[in-house]
């Protein structure tokens, strides 16, 4: 499920992913995004949706990636639990795997309105691992 965690932010929630590569950190942050709504372990990766984003700024690329997933969750009424992410320069391509929302089984707590620029950070940590994080509005 990746190395993700939530961090506190008043009324909203911060999502943080870590990984040995930038792409792994982006994928882990996406699992953290799902965890705002439901337990990712309850989401079966049954079908995939292809995602592409291009933004000339690494932090805004994370912002765009998470917002692409927010859009897909809202319009396809799906939840995602597995993310195959590739990042090359200012371009991200990914396959997000998940299933349609099942209210009884997933008990979705809250919808994510959007990823914000607050606490937005993408960086290589002193231990050599990548960190990708921002606050999402719920």
């Amino acid at each position: 499920m990746g190395d993700w965690q939530h961090f506190g932010h008043g009324a909203d929630i911060g999502v943080r992913g870590r990984g040995s590569t930038l792409a792994e950190a982006f994928a882990a942050a996406a699992v953290g995004l799902t965890a705002v709504v439901t337990d990712p372990a309850q989401v079966n990766p049954l079908e995939s949706v292809h995602v592409e984003c291009t933004v000339p700024d690494r932090e805004l690329l994370l912002h765009e990636w998470l917002n692409s997933l927010v859009f897909l969750m809202a319009t396809r009424r799906m939840l995602f639990s597995r993310f195959d992410v590739r990042v090359a320069g200012d371009r991200l391509e990914a396959d997000a795997w998940g299933e349609p929302i099942d209210v009884a089984r997933h008990a979705p707590a809250v919808e994510v309105k959007g990823a914000t620029l607050t606490e937005l950070a993408v960086r290589k940590e002193p231990d050599g691992r990548w960190l990708a994080q921002c606050v999402v509005d719920v």
């Binding site: 008043g10 009324a11 909203d12 859009f71 209210v103 809250v110 990823a115 914000t116």
Partner: protein, 476 residues
């Protein structure tokens, strides 16, 4: 909050004089316990807002202020377009035109208690709520354009509610100068199936009884009688507003350097009002305001249908409908000069005083109703705008209780089912598709709204009119 460098001007008014990049003072309205309990980030964010180009007077924080993104939630700031003023997507928020509509049922509490479980069941069935829920309507592209320009008027024309409702809605139910052409295809797609839905999180439809009247004259003028029942609907512009906020936050962050605006933090992303991006945002934001007004109008109709199926003859007249996440052009007197300003209210309610032409004629002598939602299962308030409010904080007041605990912490402390059971024993029926959502919205995870409205009254922002206690709460 660290109060070093904060000067107490009066019991509930605290001033931070401009230092560094600040162009105007930052003013906080709260009693000392509320202020000390606020996050230091509120102070930091308010001082950042005070440094933005074209800000007029001061950056204000309401008694329920808390850490937001860019602007603090509970932040109020006005900008002058002719003096380099900016508009900020973060200063309005993702839930554009989120607000509260209050309906007067005319029913006594006993009448509702007699049908309470059946009414709760019926409302939960009729009101689409929660993640993934959809409304009855499917909007075509031309329907969408008509909704985005027509607001609640469009909804009434479609058969949702009555023309008389519109007199009691901010701007008569329709915000001028909306530009549907500035609304992205993604925002439209997010809204296609979401008209007439409540949403999730802290949004709700609540049946409440008037437990206490604080100002008998204004309460009578508003039609609020002790022991009678009202319905409060708290929601906003749904997916459309969320996507517009997302789109423009990104565009403003990318284009900020081209405007030569120095931002202490990227989250303050903004654009000059007199720029193409600023004007496109304002046009899209106004379209989202119309979406929110239409949404609350449709929910009003659904609620009336449910009430009439149990209580034939129930009218559910609109008391008022007012938003608390907006940017509006208003006339304000600044040092004797009448100026047209773009007023951002992010988690703050407009509160025009008695006699203001922006208040419906039938309510004008009493001041504008200010609708304050409490947390799930706790009290809410109706306040009224006061004379002199314009000079305090641009005719603005608080909007709610404000969280005191993270969602994560709340789910560790409470269980949804147990909360529903405990509240039912106290006579409050909660209906929600998500027990985790109920736990995250536990009453104990919020500050007491009573302290917030008391501070708002003592600060001269608004006057308490009535206290409402819940009977039924439909949550997302």
């Amino acid at each position: 909050m660290n109060l070093l460098g904060v000067r107490r001007e009066s019991e509930c008014r605290w001033v931070i004089e401009p230092t560094g990049a600040m162009r105007v003072p930052a003013i906080l309205y709260a009693d000392e316990p509320l202020l000390r309990a606020m996050d230091d980030k509120v102070r930091e964010q308010l001082c950042n807002v005070a440094s933005l180009p074209g800000i007029v007077g001061a950056a204000h924080a309401m008694p329920d202020a808390h850490w937001g993104y860019g602007f603090p939630i509970g932040g109020v700031a006005a900008f002058d377009a002719d003096r380099g003023g900016i508009v900020s997507a973060g200063g309005v928020g993702f839930d554009i035109s989120c607000g509260v509509r209050c309906l007067l049922t005319g029913c006594r509490r006993e009448e509702i208690v007699a049908v309470q479980p059946a009414l709760a069941h019926e409302l939960a069935r009729a009101i689409p709520a929660g993640v993934g829920s959809t409304g009855r309507l499917r909007l075509t592209s031309s329907d969408m354009d008509a909704m985005l320009t027509g607001g609640a008027r469009w909804a009434v024309a479609c058969g949702y509610g009555d023309v008389a409702d519109l007199d009691r809605v901010e701007e008569h139910g329709c915000i001028a100068h909306a530009k549907p052409g500035s609304v992205s295809p993604r925002a439209r797609e997010r809204q296609r199936d979401e008209m007439g839905t409540l949403g999730s999180g802290n949004h709700y439809l609540e049946v409440q009884w008037i437990a206490e009247v604080h100002d008998a004259t204004i309460a009578a003028g508003y039609g609020l009688r002790q022991g009678e029942v009202v319905v409060s609907i708290h929601c906003g512009s749904r997916g459309l507003g969320h996507q517009i906020g997302t789109d423009f936050l990104r565009d403003m962050a990318l284009q900020a350097p081209s405007f030569g605006i120095h931002l202490p933090d990227r989250e303050l992303a903004c654009a000059p009002i007199n720029s193409d991006l600023g004007q496109r945002y304002l046009g899209a934001m106004r379209a989202a305001m119309n979406c929110a007004l239409a949404n609350r109008q449709i929910l009003t109709h659904l609620c009336r249908e449910s009430f009439r199926s149990m209580l034939p003859g129930a009218e559910l007249e609109v008391l008022y409908d007012v938003s608390h996440n907006i940017c509006k052009v208003e006339e304000h007197r600044v040092q004797g000069e009448l100026r047209s300003l773009h007023v951002h209210r992010k988690g703050a309610t407009r509160a025009f005083g008695p006699g203001h032409p922006g208040v419906p004629e039938s309510l004008r002598e009493f001041g504008q109703p200010v609708l304050i939602g409490g947390s799930m299962g706790t009290e809410s308030y109706v306040l009224a705008g006061v004379a002199g409010g314009e000079d305090v904080a641009l005719s603005s007041a608080c909007h709610g209780a404000g969280r005191s605990m993270s969602r994560h912490e709340a789910t560790h402390r409470w269980h949804g089912r147990q909360l529903v059971h405990e509240l039912a024993e106290r006579g409050v029926l909660i209906r929600s598709p998500s027990m985790r959502g109920v736990a995250e919205e536990a009453p104990g995870a919020y500050k007491p709204v009573r302290n917030v409205v008391d501070a708002a009254e003592r600060a001269g922002l608004a006057r308490k009119v009535a206290r409402l206690e819940p009977l039924i709460c439909v949550k997302g």
